[in-house]
């Protein structure tokens, strides 16, 4: 089942030019944009590295949203709804979760490209311990992205203009998560809101590691905990949406 989903999904994604652009070109341009912006103000070293990580995370986020949209548009059509109506809710959520997991995997090259561009163009050096932290941070970010992505992408079902609405909902969320500017600069209230999202925890963790040389492992636990809450919420939301679809017999709610 996993392999068959992978095969179909991969073909859909690779055939879409926008996603190719988002994975391979956008990270390069955004890394240069923010890299030069920070460099023009005399920032270097660890600060630049954390900006590149932020850009990588940002492009992962964008790829996920777009890829999620492709799944909703292409896979959850009328025929599939009839087919899915034969399956149990648990099976259905399992399929949805697997599809999104593959999207998360698909986002990783954009992170690597952003990082490689930044390190090469701006001459930032990284050693083995930095590399270890980077690997942990990507893993952590993927978990948090998965957690928050599960309910968010489901919003695409809610209306014909779901794509536009989801961007509005997610844009502030992404800006508040401190990927480009650390949440430390935020006023307390906004900072409090920002920490409601699991991606903020994972982003803040790696920024603390590189900028303040503080490794707080408890952040990992918090990230996992909050991500699980979002995944549970997605489970409930999915149940609700599928029930609606079955009653109405159409996708656009």
């Amino acid at each position: 089942m996993f392999y068959s989903i992978f095969k179909v999904q991969q073909a859909k994604m690779v055939g879409d030019p926008t996603i190719i652009y988002q994975i391979f070109i956008q990270p390069i341009i955004f890394t240069l944009l923010f890299g030069y912006l920070y460099q023009s103000s005399g920032k270097e070293g660890a600060v630049l590295l954390s900006v590149f990580i932020g850009v990588g995370q940002m492009t992962m986020w964008q790829v996920l949203l777009y890829a999620g949209g492709i799944i909703v548009r292409h896979e959850f059509n009328r025929e599939r709804t009839i087919y899915y109506s034969l399956l149990s809710q648990t099976d259905l959520f399992g399929i949805w979760a697997k599809r999104l997991f593959l999207c998360i995997l698909l986002t990783t090259p954009s992170f690597l490209i952003a990082l490689l561009t930044g390190v090469t163009v701006f001459g930032v050096s990284i050693d083995v311990s930095d590399l270890t932290y980077l690997v942990i941070s990507v893993g952590l970010y993927m978990v948090s992205l998965y957690g928050i992505g599960l309910p968010l992408i489901l919003l695409l079902f809610l209306s014909v203009h779901g794509g536009k609405i989801i961007q509005t909902v997610t844009y502030p969320m992404f800006l508040l998560s401190g990927m480009i500017v650390s949440v430390d600069y935020f006023p307390y209230v906004i900072k409090g809101i920002a920490f409601l999202f699991p991606i903020t925890w994972s982003t803040h963790w790696i920024q603390e590691v590189f900028i303040h040389n503080t490794v707080d492992w408890s952040f990992l636990g918090y990230t996992l905990l909050i991500s699980s809450f979002y995944a549970l919420f997605a489970r409930v939301l999915y149940h609700f949406i599928m029930k609606k679809i079955r009653v109405r017999g159409e996708i656009n709610l």
């Binding site: 652009y21 341009i29 023009s40 203009h161 536009k164 800006l175 500017v181």
Partner: protein, 259 residues
């Protein structure tokens, strides 16, 4: 129907197409808010990084970004749809009439761009610029904003005319926008870019009108004496001529081999 009536009809059609494509409340509730939020975010990032000087630099660039964004992506989509849909009325028209239609549409787009700029300016200036006198300067800069929107329009035509391959052209506007943000002197000062990007930025549409707008609003430098304006006119003319010629060629292709 004579050419003038046709022009009027197509101008109305262009307006209607834009309205139908996305209902107004969805447009304001989603796209507009998102890109204004994006402008505010970029200004804030610039302030955090470089202080007040950088904030002022980023502010005037980011007041114009939403309009440029909406404008050239809109123009691009409308023209590409027309070419793709092989509209029979376009195929029977003369080149002059087509040109008149494009000019008529440019006015519609200018009105649209002006309202977007007003909206963005109202939000950003209410947060960042004290007093009210700067509004007079904004209204005095209307010819400059017309130049800016024409430039975005011509760039949209140019992009749409590059209808070489559907797959490439789908991602062209997004790529162009992000690239413009890098080399267009909107948020990042071009002086901080490497030499080849600085050279490239001289040929980028919108860049010089942004410079002139910034100079006018911050240093009170009259834009009619600013060489950037004339440079922008040259670039705008180049993109318009090339865009229009390639657009005609695409239509000719459909005339010969209708889909």
């Amino acid at each position: 129907m004579n050419t003038f009536q046709y022009l009027l009809y197509n101008t109305k059609l262009s307006w209607r197409m834009q309205r139908n494509e996305l209902p107004l409340k969805i447009f304001i509730g989603t796209f507009a808010i998102r890109i204004i939020f994006q402008s505010l975010f970029f200004i804030w990032v610039a302030t955090v990084i470089g202080g007040d000087e950088m904030r002022e630099f980023a502010m005037y660039g980011n007041i114009l970004i939403p309009a440029a964004h909406i404008l050239f992506i809109d123009v691009y989509n409308v023209l590409r749809d027309e070419i793709d849909e092989n509209r029979i009325d376009l195929l029977t028209l003369s080149k002059t009439s087509l040109l008149m239609i494009l000019i008529g549409r440019s006015l519609v787009y200018f009105v649209k761009a002006f309202f977007i700029i007003l909206f963005t300016y109202a939000i950003i200036s209410s947060i960042l610029i004290p007093g009210l006198w700067h509004w007079l300067k904004l209204f005095a800069a209307i010819p400059l904003l017309l130049l800016f929107s024409l430039s975005a329009y011509s760039f949209g035509i140019f992009l749409a005319s590059l209808n070489l391959n559907d797959k490439i052209s789908q991602m062209l506007p997004n790529f162009s926008l992000v690239f413009l943000m890098l080399v267009g002197n909107f948020t990042v000062p071009v002086e901080s870019l490497p030499k080849f990007l600085q050279t490239l930025s001289q040929f980028v549409p919108l860049r010089h009108s942004v410079d002139a707008f910034r100079d006018f609003m911050t240093n009170n430098l009259p834009y009619w004496t600013n060489p950037s304006v004339y440079l922008e006119l040259i670039i705008l003319t180049f993109f318009s001529v090339v865009g229009y010629s390639v657009y005609l060629k695409s239509l000719d292709k459909f005339r010969k081999q209708p889909v």
